[in-house]
Symmetry: C2
Subunit: 219 residues, 2 copies
């Protein structure tokens, strides 16, 4: 029996990871976080995607908001995409570190062999905790810090999207018939996607380059 924790935000990337975990025969425990994000509606998407895949369980963990980001501090505006190379104000300090740490604890508790996370470091917002260097270092921390690691069966961290472009992710999702109509990507979190924040721009670019229609609505 193979079991995996799938980090599920309810967006395009994590839903593609769900499709992959499902196609590989894992029993899936979906893990989502209510961390004070302004785009809380993504949690509704995560619930729908988890139901679609008939997961074994779906945990939504409430995390105290640490602030310091336009995604969690309503006093800061989400900027439009500007193509800058610097780390944007939507960066949430330690977000993937905390998410993966929780996933690691849950993997020990539920005896899961793997964690799927949909990070990618190509068409991305420049967050440090989406890069392979971070993921590789985290694998080591998890290996040394857990019972499974000590016992010689370390929890795997699977990042199937890490080297894919957004267009390749869309193609992969479509190949696996992922329910992209249920997903939400917009940082601004309105009923319709804004179409101009980093996340919307990357998503639209992905669909356009893949030659596929994006099934969600934009303002």
């Amino acid at each position: 029996m193979k079991r995996a924790i799938v980090l599920l935000s309810g967006g395009l990337d994590s839903t593609t990871c769900m499709a992959l975990a499902d196609s590989e025969g894992y029993k899936i425990c979906a893990l989502s976080f209510d961390y004070g994000q302004r785009h809380k509606r993504e949690l509704q998407s995560s619930i729908k995607v988890a139901e679609y895949y008939r997961v074994e369980s779906h945990k939504i963990i409430k995390l105290d908001n640490l602030g310091g980001s336009a995604l969690t501090d309503l006093a800061l505006d989400v900027p439009d995409y500007n193509g800058s190379n610097s780390i944007p104000i939507t960066y949430v300090p330690s977000r993937n570190l905390i998410f993966l740490s929780y996933a690691g604890g849950l993997a020990e508790t539920l005896n899961a062999q793997a964690i799927f996370i949909g990070v990618n470091a190509l068409d991305y917002s420049g967050y440090p905790d989406c890069r392979p260097e971070f993921i590789n270092a985290f694998k080591e921390a998890l290996r040394f810090g857990t019972k499974k690691g000590i016992e010689g069966t370390p929890i795997e961290i699977l990042t199937p999207l890490i080297n894919l472009s957004k267009s390749e992710i869309v193609q992969l999702a479509c190949k696996h018939k992922a329910p992209l109509n249920l997903t939400t990507s917009c940082y601004r979190g309105g009923d319709k996607a804004c179409g101009t924040c980093d996340s919307c721009i990357l998503r639209k670019k992905g669909f356009k380059e893949a030659g596929m229609p994006d099934p969600i609505e934009y303002v």
Copy 2:
């Protein structure tokens, strides 16, 4: 201006870390966790210790309980100390990983240079996430996963107790006049310490070998 996050459980080790951070001139942000631990009274100790040191701030983060440990699952009994080398049932999967991840996020948000954590791997309960191998791997994950790391000023993880015996920790605490009367170590969490769980046995051993009286009450 030096600022540090000090992980503060309210026990002997973390209070000794507070004393060290204070003596080194750091402005201190104490960080504690309400993670469903049965010995929740340690949080009261953490509040008293934080007040004693007049910290800049004290954050108590509520974490959803992931289960899988006698410290968080009331259906499991806390065993008496048995001297075994295996990882005990009081092990909480990913606890220090989650604590340090939060501390890393807070260090970014508050612009702190260092995190103090009172792990030690000599007179300890055998938890994998108290060992130097884990701490060193985590340092790398934090370095690669944060803005401060990318900018060349990585957050330091300071573990001043990691190679000390419990007796040496007691001596160090006394040298720095740490308020050990305010601390709580017992896993069973009663009004008086049980004196027989792993944590009580290690604490009593430390005071005895240091030739110092333990100022807290035992049943």
